[in-house]
Symmetry: C2
């Protein structure tokens, strides 16, 4: 009665594991291994009733309405709320009949694992020209970790092609929030397309577990909702997410701050001999011949960055969140 076993993906963000690996490192650890905004949205007080009662349908609908406005969707009907975009990465493959899936690589490893676990035939391709007759195409835009961004015109063309063969385009926009308004497909959502959005990364509240799928096909939306089941998102996350997504002033201030932080980080990395090869406003991808040794050196200094087993010269750096963190990173890279 066993299902096929697939190797788990290595993730950033696990400071506990880093602490075990570098037991002598100074505390507190600085976690630069994720692409989470270090300047978090200030968590509003959560009413005790939010913890006590089952999440209410009216509150979930209000969240979806605010999310629709924030992301530019036509209506909350197109929006599905989930406990993190990771939950959606796992749910989408379950509601699609087994088929051929092309994933634009290298990218976030959970996509390939999730499609393969459901029995789909998965190939990873470096370019969209190589996807062949795949009925499902999955891409992260802008891409994690490279930051490569594919333009809307090309994606609309691809979506139309997939629609013709009853296929699906899956666009994971987890890192799109600060990349300019024309990056997202949501405002002109094509047929046969599902867009995934992450709440926790842009708002610095990854612990809350909140993400969204946005799709124009009503049947797909219904199947995804059934797959997630009732009360998928916690009531405190609904409350906090609704407040944050409504706050456009906070978003524009955050955007400017992250732009300035990215420029500062690029300079720091270049001064340390790295070539900055890509990224988004939430992380930078940098190349160095001695990347592995530098990651270990940072680890001994209590700074966690993201390595890539298949790309030994790459390191991904999230943004430091305080003067003290900038100083420790600067010292550790000297």
């Amino acid at each position: 009665m066993t299902a096929s076993h697939i190797e788990p993906v290595v993730h950033g963000g696990d400071v506990d594991a880093a602490r075990r690996r570098f037991p002598g490192a100074p505390e507190p650890w600085i976690d630069l291994s994720t692409g989470i905004n270090p300047h978090a949205y200030p968590v509003p007080a959560v009413d005790t009733a939010m913890w006590q009662r089952l999440p209410q349908s009216g509150a979930e609908w209000a969240l979806r309405e605010v999310a629709a406005q924030r992301y530019g969707a036509v209506s909350a009907v197109q929006v599905i709320a989930a406990p993190g975009s990771q939950a959606l990465i796992q749910a989408v493959p379950r509601v699609i009949t087994t088929t051929d899936v092309a994933i634009l690589a290298p990218t976030y490893g959970e996509h390939a694992v999730s499609w393969a676990r459901c029995g789909h035939r998965v190939v990873e391709q470096r370019n969209l020209t190589e996807i062949g007759e795949a009925r499902v195409v999955v891409l992260v835009n802008p891409n994690n970790p490279t930051g490569r961004t594919i333009g809307g015109r090309q994606l609309h063309h691809l979506a139309a092609e997939l629609a013709q063969r009853d296929g699906l385009l899956v666009v994971d926009e987890a890192f799109s929030d600060f990349e300019g308004t024309d990056v997202s497909l949501v405002p002109q959502l094509p047929e046969a397309t599902v867009v995934l959005r992450s709440f926790g990364k842009a708002y610095g509240l990854a612990g809350a577990r909140l993400g969204f799928a946005i799709a124009s096909d009503a049947g797909l939306c219904e199947r995804l909702r059934a797959e997630l089941g009732p009360w998928a998102v916690s009531a405190p996350a609904i409350a906090v997410g609704t407040a944050a997504l409504r706050d456009s002033h906070w978003l524009s201030v955050a955007s400017a701050r992250l732009a300035s932080d990215c420029a500062r980080l690029d300079t720091l990395l270049q001064d340390a001999g790295f070539e900055v090869v890509g990224g988004t406003r939430l992380f930078r991808l940098a190349r160095h011949e001695r990347a592995r040794a530098i990651a270990d050196k940072l680890g001994r200094a209590g700074i966690l960055v993201r390595s890539f087993p298949s790309e030994p010269e790459w390191l991904r750096f999230g943004l430091p969140g305080s003067d003290a963190q900038w100083q420790r990173l600067t010292s550790a890279l000297e």
Copy 2:
């Protein structure tokens, strides 16, 4: 590319829907439609870092250790944490190869829906003697809504029988917390068995979304964890759950209070002409020839109780949580 569609289950707990149905009802609504402890565990202050960082593996392990102690499991290795036991009701059928499933009915409707959605052949049976050669048996113990409890000896015999045919016994113990220590299978967990536990019901924190699966088979545990994926439970829920599950004093005070509340509710229902036909310490099941009319009358008074389409003479009552709620229920039933 569509998957088969299955009708959604009607649930208790949706006050928003009740408000739409009875627009003239007085506020605030009293929600007696669920089996959630009305005397909630006092939510401790949640550290801002819990919202900001991805849930940490060390924190999740600590939660599982506390849960193992609380439920009497041999080790945290046997414990899987999920965003609500509902998420586990949906996950277990996905990790089992398509087979014959017998569900002891009537019971919580999501079990049958979840197994059927994954393509299993589901039959509902009234008695364990009728399960035939089913390889998976699902039962809720004590049962929702009837309160029927099956003894450990019978369940161990059933688990042994299912183990012989490479099967699985699924025991949903969502309402077992206040039913005495010998009701749960966890302390002497048989082979080929998975027990589901709900955190939100007993601790009155259903909005948090937290539940557990406990299983002795390491392969099953691993498959369930992979199915739930990384960061399934929010970090605030991990923090609150760990504090609550550790607090044995609170649990014993809650148990005594609920026993006294149940006796009071039974008297009130009997005085109103109901026959109390079952229940647990978290809800009472009552029968009345005019149950539907009484549910409507309560709805007009702003009190939501649980009806059952297939059992028109049944109503399920949760426990009022304050003197004001007891008084409104008493008046509305007169």
